[in-house]
């Protein structure tokens, strides 16, 4: 263990701990943009700079190993001044569209500009412009808002493993690009949207959720995905009793299987819930056509026919296909219905199909 002092507070951490981790353990709120605990370190955005007593330069906390006896200040005047300049530099290539941006209210750049009182940038005269067009139905790419933190590149390579995107060009013209700057659909992209998950600003957003509600307008409900058997957990975003999106939960306790990572179906395949095609009333077939019916009518109809068949042909003339989509509780009741209420073991579901 090594001992260091952070904002006047002494803390012990294991050797090899980064200054950022040590600061967080000491309760300091360090702003970060390119840092992600699940990705390899980039050390590129410099938002996390801190002052170490006796050192000539500020250090990027995320990539600096903590050393015994270090005395760290995380909000000294020099640190604050430096962060303000960094924010100004970032704003020089971030199109300020907060009024229409999906990420208004959940944008780290916006939060940090607010925190440090940065209203505009002195470096605005040379804003590069990038095409917004990517004709895919899942991910909106607006690189006029990109701050080049490269988390999308790293998550694509390190978590999903698709390696669909990388940094193209240098300096002011650097941007995130597929091979030969083509469409995502022509790249190795699998539209998992892990890039949307890690983007700290509004450069990468979900087209499926566009315009349906920002984070401060929605409630989030932790649940388990309805598609394959992996059992990924995520949050359904709800606004006015409608599902308007899915967001990741990146906590290994709440998301033990996937730790926030999702696939294209989990992240972008939720709007069937809100489909106009949903069945909203019971139906009964009459003269070959299904017509709306009341619950009482439909349930009585079904129950009477079941009783009739059971009386005439015995319980084994009836069968249930239960559901691999439904919950445990419902499957339990469904098989109990057929075994206990009707009296047959003709119960199966599509495990084989």
């Amino acid at each position: 263990m090594i001992t260091l002092t952070i904002n006047g507070k002494e803390i012990q951490v294991p050797k090899g701990t980064m200054v950022l981790d040590a600061c967080q353990q000491a309760g300091a709120d360090i702003p970060t943009l390119c840092y992600d605990p699940d990705l390899r370190l980039a050390g590129s955005c410099r938002m996390c700079v801190v002052e170490a007593k006796g050192r000539p330069n500020l250090m990027a906390a995320c990539v600096s190993p903590a050393e015994n006896g270090m005395v760290i200040e995380t909000e000294s005047p020099d640190v604050v001044e430096s962060r303000k300049i960094i924010l100004e530099l970032l704003l020089a290539r971030h199109k300020l569209e907060c009024h229409t941006c999906e990420r208004d209210g959940s944008c780290k750049l916006q939060d940090y500009c607010y925190r440090y009182g940065v209203t505009d940038s002195r470096y605005l005269n040379e804003m590069p412009h990038f095409s917004k067009e990517d004709p895919n139905p899942f991910i909106k790419r607006d690189y006029d808002k990109c701050i080049m933190c490269t988390k999308c590149v790293r998550v694509c390579e390190e978590i999903t493993g698709a390696q669909a995107i990388n940094v193209e060009d240098r300096g002011h013209h650097a941007k995130i690009s597929t091979v030969f700057d083509g469409k995502l659909a022509d790249s190795t992209c699998v539209f998992c949207g892990q890039c949307v998950m890690v983007c700290p600003v509004g450069a990468l957003t979900s087209k499926v959720s566009a315009g349906k509600g920002r984070s401060y307008q929605t409630q989030s409900v932790l649940t388990t995905c309805t598609y394959c058997g992996t059992g990924c957990t995520f949050e359904l975003n709800v606004k006015d009793d409608h599902v308007v999106g899915v967001t990741s939960v990146r906590d290994s306790e709440l998301s033990p299987v996937n730790k926030g990572a999702l696939c294209v179906k989990g992240r972008f395949g939720w709007d069937f819930i809100e489909s106009e095609d949903r069945l909203t009333t019971p139906l009964i077939k009459e003269n070959g056509e299904l017509r709306p019916a009341s619950w009482d009518e439909a349930l009585d109809f079904a129950a009477n026919k079941i009783k009739e068949i059971k009386a005439k042909n015995g319980p084994d003339a009836l069968a249930l296909f239960s559901s691999a989509r439904a919950t445990n509780e419902e499957n339990y009741l469904a098989q109990k219905l057929f075994r206990a209420a009707i009296g047959t073991n003709n119960v199966d579901h599509c495990a084989r199909l």
Binding site: G269, I273, F301, A319, L337
Partner: protein
């Protein structure tokens, strides 16, 4: 799965994937395996007739002929025994019937199997050595192994391989079926099977039956029930008169849809409970509108046996009711009262009759799900099965001979047709085809054809063709791709308007599991 998902990312030092296109069908598991290979140096063996994404980073890729799994894995075992790579202590202490397997695999030399499987004998040797010498080797498979007339044999062969190398009971090992539906594990656990009550307790066992008769307060049938294929056949013959289909769509998912359709038409009563008017619901006499996972509380059990919470986010649409309430209402009308105030109350009852779930409650899984078996509330759950001993005591080897698939290509139908899923859709498409982005990205079915086969048939990419088997035909666009080998074609089963299961056969199933042979049908392609 005998083991848990995260072990594939961290603990396994070799992964043997067979019959699972993991990055498309279980993407998160696929990503974890790829991460383990790229960053931890885990070895990867991929055996699949299709050149799937993970084949690109495999140490050995075995592009074997569909349906020859037993020959391939028997040959791997032949190599392992011949080269003395078997886990002799594990075999001696924890298994039985080894000698019979050793005898049977003798003739499956790599050269012999290479001939059957259409792979290089040397690659079989390499694969066998990698898996057998790995410190912790994991086998993962999915429907590519099971959906065969020899599905049960195929699975037993995977178990043999794990037993032979002692790759069981430790982190990063195991025999791991990757299950394709959110709660297919739970549906099985809850007794949605014709032969068992919850927790796989046999309906034919008098003691077990007495326990459930006491719990449920009525006498219960002592006879095994019928599987789905048997129900469909008996409906066709008029022996099954009434069927309730809850959250399933056999008119798209079941083999030989023409046959299924005739069977459903023959019923006196078809009840369908679903969220959409599915192809099956259209045939119903009465339809109950259920709700999606977003509109109800409950639990799902994933492929690694982890029981996790499902939480209601919105109120049910229109006059739709949570499915558990519909079942209760129907039961009440049948004179068997079911009065539960919440899914949690149902779960509390489940615990009392399901020993593997006895220790789980909603409070314990509020944050993190628990793996069953979990026999009591102090038990942490069981991510890894078979640690000290197997359920039956010793692990049983099964000597299995290779059998050809039921329907082999011939002059009239010279191609092998396999069916399966795309990354962008799920099962019969009821949900994904109504998800705007997914359906926009992949709006229609295709048939994948190798360039060589396409050239021989004078077919170009994107050309509409007729895919034909003895059961029927569908019209689909050709996708000319090296993903499939010459002579093998592949189509997706998500699309009711070009339904793969019009083509599949419902004559011969696996004799034990009654699973259809979706991975091998004899087919041909006609130009239109």
């Amino acid at each position: 799965m005998t083991n848990s998902i995260n072990e594939l990312e961290k603990d396994a030092t070799a992964v043997f994937l067979i019959g699972t296109n993991t990055t498309e069908n279980h993407p998160i598991i696929g990503y974890k395996i790829r991460k383990n290979v790229r960053y931890n140096g885990a070895k990867l063996i991929v055996a699949d007739p299709r050149n799937i994404e993970l084949a690109d980073i495999a140490d050995v890729y075995l592009q074997f002929r569909p349906g020859t799994d037993v020959a391939l894995v028997n040959a791997m075992m032949n190599v392992i025994i011949t080269e003395g790579l078997d886990a002799k202590d594990f075999i001696a202490n924890r298994t039985e019937n080894y000698e019979q397997v050793a005898e049977v695999v003798k003739k499956y030399t790599p050269e012999y199997a290479a001939e059957i499987c259409g792979v290089d004998a040397e690659d079989i040797r390499k694969a066998a050595r990698i898996y057998a010498t790995a410190e912790r080797g994991s086998i993962c498979y999915a429907m590519g192994v099971t959906q065969h007339s020899t599905g049960t044999d195929n699975v037993k062969t995977m178990c043999n391989l794990a037993l032979l190398t002692g790759n069981l009971g430790k982190a990063g090992t195991g025999v791991n079926p990757l299950r394709g539906q959110n709660n297919v594990q739970g549906a099985c656990d809850m007794g949605a099977l014709p032969v068992s009550y919850p927790a796989y307790q046999a309906v034919t066992n008098p003691d077990i039956r007495a326990k459930f008769e006491k719990a449920w307060g009525v006498p219960l049938s002592p006879n095994n029930g019928l599987t789905i294929p048997d129900v469909v056949n008996k409906a066709h013959h008029g022996e099954i008169k009434g069927l309730m289909v809850f959250g399933e769509n056999p008119m798209v998912s079941d083999p030989d849809i023409t046959h299924v359709s005739e069977s459903l038409d023959n019923l006196e009563l078809l009840i369908v409970q679903d969220i959409f008017l599915t192809e099956t619901a259209m045939k119903a006499d009465v339809v109950f509108p259920g709700v999606t996972f977003a509109e109800k509380n409950g639990t799902f059990s994933n492929t690694e046996r982890r029981v996790q919470r499902v939480r209601q986010a919105i109120t049910p649409k229109g006059d739709a009711h949570p499915d558990w309430q519909i079942i209760c209402e129907l039961s009440n009308r049948l004179g068997y009262p079911m009065n539960y105030s919440s899914p949690e109350e149902i779960f509390e009852e489940i615990r009392t009759v399901t020993p593997s779930y006895a220790g789980i409650n909603y409070q314990r899984i509020d944050n993190t799900g628990i793996h069953w078996p979990c026999p009591n509330e102090e038990h942490p759950g069981t991510p890894i099965l078979h640690g000290e001993k197997f359920n039956r005591g010793l692990g049983l080897f099964h000597a299995i001979e290779f059998k050809e698939p039921y329907e082999l290509p011939d002059a009239e139908y010279p191609l092998i047709l396999s069916t399966g899923r795309s990354l962008f859709h799920y099962h019969t498409g009821t949900m994904t085809r109504r998800s705007s982005a997914l359906n926009e990205f992949m709006p229609s079915n295709v048939v994948q054809i190798n360039p060589e086969t396409a050239a021989a048939l004078n077919i170009v990419d994107n050309e509409k063709v007729k895919l034909v088997t003895r059961r029927g035909s569908i019209e689909v666009n050709a996708q000319v791709t090296e993903m499939v080998p010459a002579g093998v074609v592949f189509t997706f089963f998500h699309f009711s308007e070009a339904a793969a299961n019009i083509l599949t056969q419902a004559e011969v199933f696996d004799p034990v599991a009654k699973i259809p042979e979706y991975k091998v049908s004899a087919a041909r392609i006609d130009k239109i």
